[in-house]
């Protein structure tokens, strides 16, 4: 066995240039496939992360049926110990309570329907970075009796800081929720859907207004590593009985999952095309190598070398070749991808504006994770092995006399 390995290794370096060219074709293929995949998966990670921290969180806890009905009647009362228990689940970084409802908001003669959210101002800020979106006035404080409204909505109502608006809706169990409140702050969202509807109250005040003391409609949970979501989801769900629903972002935002799936399908087709190109590149190199050595093979067989031994040695050669290419590709791309992960490529111009409009930073993010490397390593290796079958069949059919005459 050792002899075969040694033979194959020596054969490789007998024609150094040929070996280098062949492994270089694999090397670049690996780097290219890795970059593409990392960019794609990175952008999905980024989209998910940006979306969950924009509002929903990775996981939400509601009372059963809340998500379907969106009614404040399906709110829940949670004890501090329960929240502490969630907090102690591994990977949970933040828990934000909210009391959400729809109500009328009126100023002067204008009345609009708005999404009213009672928040814990500090926790909300940690999760959604709300304080940075404040453009006028001051940020809500705990127990605050004022409101913060979205800039688009403020424009529609023509209100400014210090004006008193009227909130009118339905509270818990049909109670009328009506109050006159002062606009304390105006926040600007990049997403029009939020910018035209959001109204923030302090949680305490919202609970008073909607006659729902100590009640919340949702708990949003942030975690430190997106890939641990299933583990955390299970752990949190085990803390609650069937009177509650514990949902992941993929259930909360099915449209995001869909758009990722559609994009990913496109990405996989591109990757498939890339693999075909890579495959033919490798196959071409192998074919050329084999053809080049026809005479050598002929001589070896005619002086008594068994065909299967020769096949085996040449198979080992292809294997080494692929390994060298793939490993070199991975070793080189690790620092590149790591760098790109830390320093995403900034976008400019039209594309940047589009992303900003959706509330995303204008960057091309990358994913740096083991699974990408493993996937590409295995795929390219399999392609190389399939190409390595060519010399086997070539040797099997080889006629030594004809081969030597070449």
């Amino acid at each position: 066995m050792k002899t075969y390995l040694l033979l194959a290794w020596r054969n490789l370096w007998r024609n150094r240039r040929r070996t280098l060219i062949a492994s270089a074709s694999i090397f670049f293929a690996v780097i290219f496939a890795l970059l593409m995949r990392s960019m794609q998966e990175g952008s999905y990670d980024y989209m998910v992360d940006a979306s969950v921290s924009m509002y929903t969180g990775y996981i939400q806890v509601h009372a059963k049926d809340y998500w379907d009905k969106r009614s404040i009647d399906k709110s829940m009362k949670l004890s501090q110990t329960k929240i502490c228990k969630i907090d102690s689940v591994k990977h949970v970084t933040l828990i934000t309570p909210r009391l959400e409802s729809f109500s009328l908001i009126s100023y002067g003669n204008v009345t609009k329907v708005a999404s009213i959210v009672g928040i814990d101002p500090e926790l909300e800020n940690e999760m959604t970075d709300l304080k940075n979106k404040l453009i006028f006035g001051k940020y809500l404080i705990e127990n605050s009796k004022g409101v913060m409204i979205a800039e688009g909505l403020a424009k529609l109502l023509k209100v400014e800081i210090g004006d008193s608006i009227v909130l009118y809706g339905q509270g818990y169990h049909g109670v009328t929720a009506a109050a006159q409140v002062e606009v304390e702050g105006i926040v600007k969202f990049t997403l029009p859907a939020l910018n035209k509807t959001m109204v923030y109250l302090s949680l305490d005040y919202a609970q008073w207004l909607y006659a729902a003391p100590n009640r919340v409609t949702s708990l949003s949970i942030m975690i430190d590593q997106a890939k641990k979501i299933n583990e955390v989801h299970l752990a949190v769900r085990n803390l609650f009985d069937e009177k509650y629903e514990v949902m992941m972002w993929s259930e909360l935002m099915p449209e995001l999952v869909q758009s990722i799936e559609v994009d990913n399908a496109g990405g996989i087709i591109m990757l498939g095309i890339l693999y075909v190109v890579i495959g033919f590149g490798i196959f071409g190199t192998v074919m050329m190598m084999t053809a080049e050595r026809t005479k050598e093979f002929g001589i070896l067989i005619s002086i008594g070398m068994k065909k299967w031994r020769l096949s085996f040695v040449s198979f080992l050669e292809s294997l080494f070749l692929s390994f060298i290419g793939v490993l070199a590709g991975i070793i080189v791309s690790i620092p590149i991808l790591y760098y790109l992960k830390q320093n995403p490529i900034p976008l400019t111009g039209e594309m940047a504006n589009v992303m900003l409009k959706f509330g995303l930073d204008p960057i091309i993010p990358f994913r740096f994770a083991a699974n990408i490397f493993v996937d590409q390593f295995l795929t390219v290796l399999v392609i190389a092995m399939i190409s390595a079958l060519y010399p086997l069949s070539y040797i099997r059919k080889l006629n030594p006399v004809k081969a030597m005459r070449k």
């Binding site: 009647d73 009126s106 329907v113 009118y168 009328t176 109050a179």
Partner: protein, 250 residues
């Protein structure tokens, strides 16, 4: 020739009976509708909404001028006291004393529940007429809750803006009040039932003063109306139903 004229006679006779019957049924419905309505009225009503895990009781005063105008003044619970709903034709306004403000309900909120009840704002302004929007057929006579009743099937006319597919109405034979109404959807499935009882004299008429609406798919829920006082042909005119007057009614 003789056979033909007999045929015509028979056809005409059947047509007449059919028309006669439907006239009958319509007449019954009309009488029963007029019994609980008048051009103008004033009523004091207690509404109780019973849900699986909570109930809510609202008492109110209600002025109305058929068919376009109504004012509802809430007297209890304390938190809602003073809230006024004004209906003028297709529009609804609310006076909110807590905010000292009149709000016109925008179209997008018309399908929202009114005062936490099973009724929507849209139900308040809908002006469908049981009498004219349906074709009535007398199905027969039946005893219900101790009264001899006409059982009438009412099918909405094609152009009527009605959500129901069919109504079955039990009308007391002598007194003409409606004791029971079954509401069917367009697929002929029963959706809810109205039951009227506690029949007594009120406002000079003998009427059911305790109404219940029972949704069929949620057996432990219902909405109850109890009339505490009712005055028919109340002296009120259109100017009463103004935005200004909303803030003044008690």
């Amino acid at each position: 020739m003789r056979i033909l004229s007999i045929n015509i006679f028979i056809t005409v006779f059947f047509l007449l009976t059919v028309i006669g019957h439907s006239q009958d049924a319509k007449e019954i419905i009309k009488k029963s509708d007029e019994l609980i309505k008048s051009k103008s009225s004033y009523a004091e009503v207690t509404m109780t909404v019973v849900k699986t895990d909570w109930t809510r009781t609202i008492t109110m005063k209600n002025w109305s001028l058929e068919p376009h105008y109504a004012i509802i003044y809430i007297t209890a619970p304390a938190r809602d006291k003073g809230t006024v709903t004004l209906k003028r034709k297709k529009e609804v306004w609310n006076w909110i004393p807590a905010a000292q403000k009149v709000i016109k309900i925008p179209p997008s909120m018309m399908l929202q529940s009114w005062m936490g009840s099973d009724f929507t704002n849209d139900d308040l302004v809908k002006e469908s007429s049981v009498v004219n929007d349906y074709t009535h057929t007398l199905l027969g006579e039946e005893k219900f809750a101790g009264y001899d009743c006409y059982k009438i099937e009412s099918i909405p006319k094609p152009d009527a803006g009605v959500v129901w597919g069919k109504l079955l109405i039990w009308v007391a034979k002598n007194e003409y009040f409606q004791l029971k109404v079954e509401f069917f959807d367009e697929d002929e499935f029963i959706v809810k039932t109205y039951i009227g009882n506690d029949i007594k004299e009120m406002g000079g008429r003998i009427i059911p003063t305790h109404w219940e609406m029972l949704p069929i798919d949620r057996p432990d829920e219902k909405t109850i109306f109890i009339y505490n006082k009712i005055e028919f042909n109340y002296n009120v005119n259109e100017t009463f139903f103004s935005e200004r007057n909303m803030k003044r009614v008690r």
